[in-house]
């Protein structure tokens, strides 16, 4: 019995995904829920489990290809009642020969050795095309072209399901590509690149524009690597954030001696008792929460002429990955104690590294914290993660000589920086916020264990 493997919908605003890696080859046996392939979407990277036990019969969508959700990307020959051990071997032999049949247009012409690479065979073309005409208008078609939007992925709300100007504007406002990522503003299209090698979906995005003519980049000996989907999203987000929010930076210095000694004395017991490591991060999260409670202007988003003051305090925490960066969110951080925050963080970070985050776990942050100090940075000036208005950057904690009561003492010091959107937040608020963070940490009172 053949079971279709489909591109899953990772979050309700996700409309397509890129297959980054097949973990099985055609002919391989798979268990139900065994990781089958890896995908990258606009929100998260994830491993997709097998829908059924059996044998991977066919891969229809190769690595690196982007397809709409619900597209059949492969087929599993499920272990039915009457499909014993003989079947796999047989199919294994025929699979490569079969693959080209499924592929529609060009491949017939290319000489095809009996290569063991069915995975890279051209995809069965038309994604969701049901053969129905898409009703739009000249304007809509022009806008779709300008913004690199595939109209077959846009839902029409006009008369008779026609895609109207409003529909396409909504899509553009949601970030152009068919993913309604949180930053809700339209990004002018028009990257004028001479020989565009866009990875997928015809991304025409300002973030990918070049500052100099492209020819000037290619000299000497070099290697060209495609930007991963995640990096493209990061690039877009950073450019948009810098474009939209006038960033201002404030720096303060915190004496972490008390927290450091507290942590030093209790971290072993903490780990023994709760089976999770105690880091500095939850202290900073708690201190940031105290600051945000005192200065709610920093726990906000700006929508045109309205400031959206969030009642929830959801702290996004940047997690560096080997292949990029992601900002999972500790929800309702203000309602958690040190242990709760530490647990949530460790869990999120762990799953970020193993690509098991759920889309909703990277959404709805109201403020964020990043920790360049972990790599030894004295301090960093981070870019705001939209639609927040502030981000706290933590420098390295290191012992420095400082003056206390006219005596020189050795203290564990840490620079903290606040990047904030000056449209919403002024320096006065920013520094008071930092002061509150500083006071909370320097006068730490909450028990750790």
């Amino acid at each position: 019995m053949a079971v279709d493997i489909v591109m899953p919908q990772m979050g309700e605003s996700i409309f397509e995904g890129t297959i980054t890696k097949w973990l099985k080859k055609p002919g391989d046996k798979v268990e139900r829920d065994e990781p089958l392939f890896e995908i990258s979407t606009d929100k998260v990277d994830a491993e997709i489990p097998s829908p059924s036990a059996g044998m991977l019969k066919e891969i229809k969508v190769g690595e690196g290809q982007t397809v709409p959700i619900q597209t059949v990307v492969g087929v599993i020959d499920a272990v039915g009642s009457a499909a014993p051990a003989t079947a796999p071997a047989k199919v294994e032999a025929t699979a490569p020969a079969k693959a080209p049949v499924a592929a529609a247009p060009a491949p017939a012409m290319t000489p095809k050795p009996a290569a063991p690479v069915p995975a890279s065979a051209p995809v069965a073309a038309a994604p969701v095309s049901t053969g129905e005409r898409i009703h739009s208008s000249p304007l809509v078609r022009r806008m779709a072209k300008e913004h690199g939007i595939d109209l077959s992925t846009v839902a029409g709300t006009g008369a008779g399901g026609r895609i109207s100007k409003q529909d396409i504007e909504a899509r553009i406002a949601a970030g152009g590509a068919p993913a309604a990522t949180p930053p809700a503003y339209s990004v002018p299209a028009g990257s004028s690149r001479p020989a565009p090698p866009p990875a997928s979906g015809g991304l025409a995005h300002v973030a990918l524009e070049t500052a100099v003519p492209r020819e000037k980049m290619y000299f000497g000996s070099y290697e060209v690597q495609p930007l991963s989907v995640m990096r493209q999203r990061i690039a877009e987000h950073m450019v948009i954030s810098k474009h939209v929010s006038p960033h201002v930076y404030s720096v303060d210095e915190i004496d972490m001696t008390k927290v450091a000694s507290l942590r030093a004395t209790s971290k072993d017991e903490f780990e023994k008792r709760y089976e999770t490591k105690l880091t500095y991060m939850p202290f900073f999260v708690k201190a940031a929460v105290a600051g945000l409670r005192a200065f709610p202007t920093l726990n906000a988003s700006l929508d045109g002429t309205n400031v959206v003051l969030h009642k929830d305090i959801n702290i996004g925490i940047a997690v560096a990955l080997e292949w990029g960066l992601i900002v999972p969110v500790v929800r309702n951080a203000d309602e958690k104690n040190l242990l709760g925050i530490q647990r949530a963080m460790n869990d999120l970070a762990e799953r970020a590294r193993s690509k098991k985050l759920k889309p909703e776990e990277v959404q709805e942050g109201t403020f964020s914290i990043t920790n360049p100090g972990v790599f030894g940075g004295l301090f960093g000036l981070p870019v705001i993660s939209q639609p927040n208005v502030g981000i706290l950057g933590l420098g390295a904690i290191e012992k420095r000589p400082v003056v206390i009561d006219d005596a020189i003492a050795i203290r564990a010091m840490c620079y903290v920086t606040l990047s904030y959107d000056h449209r919403v937040v002024d320096g006065a608020i920013a520094h008071q916020f930092l002061r509150k963070v500083k006071e909370t940490l320097e006068n730490w009172s909450e028990p750790v264990l």
């Binding site: 000249p138 304007l139 809509v140 022009r142 006009g158």
Partner: protein, 339 residues
Amino acid sequence: MAETKRARTNGAAAQGTQVTFLEAIRQAMFEEMERDPAVVLIGEDVGVYGGAFKTSEGLLERFGWERVIDTPISESAIIGAACGMSYLGLRPICEMQFIDFIVCAFNQITNFVAKGHYLWNAPAPMVIRGPSGGGVHGGPFHSANPEMYFVHTPGLKVIYPSTPQDAKGLLKAAVRDNNPVLFFEHKFLYRRIKGEVPAGDYTVPIGKAVVRREGRHLTILSYAAMMHTSLEAADALEKEGIEAEVIDLRTLLPLDEETILQSVKKTNKCLVVHEDTRTGGIAGEIAAILFEKAFQDLDGPLVRVTSLDTPVPYAPTLEDYFLPNAKKIFSAAKELARY
């Protein structure tokens, strides 16, 4: 008698105040004749009677029979005579008692007045004006909107205003223009519409449309009496959350393409309202312009609200059915906005 009339009509005192559409036209002629002795008025009953609608009341008393000329009932003769006058340096204003009868002079206008400049370098600086339009139960011979016969004729300019200020400013501009200008006066507006006209001498440029109301969901193009009907519909649309941009074309030839395109490129949808009958009306021409110059900006079909393709009926109920009205515009616009 002449004294009292002159006191009332002499210009200055009446300016900067609310005047009727008709009074604005009378003021324009009066002031232009005062300003330039070459300007004369010629038509049926324009002198002694003061015009069938009293548009030229007081002009004979002020300017005398040599400049305010009553004619026999022959439109062809009026235009022919005026054309000759214009060749010889005068700037005649011809009145058609009802614009329906302008077609009696069709040959004179299209073959001589319009072509003179092109054919033998003989420009005809003259104005042909008269009461037009329906809605007043005038029947099939006294309700015509013949503008498109002339919009189709190269060499002419065609004006069809909707407000007293425009009527006065555009008529004065027409008198001063060196081309033959047709100036249609919607008789429904004559005494129903009042508005302020600027103090002192002014003109309104020919060939310029004006945005009467700004909006973003669709553009309504109209002119003359239907301008007011369109604005009424726009008020009703606003209550439904539909913001219509309403544009008064004012001049049909030359058409202000720039203003039309600018608006449609903003709203992406266009509705044309005219009282003229449907086939061959200006809406068709505008549709063609949009297809040629703004195709990729259109988010819906061009929609027309016009009179039916019949003569103007005499029976009031039939005439009401025949003409566009605010309700028809409202529902067509709503449909288009939803499209």
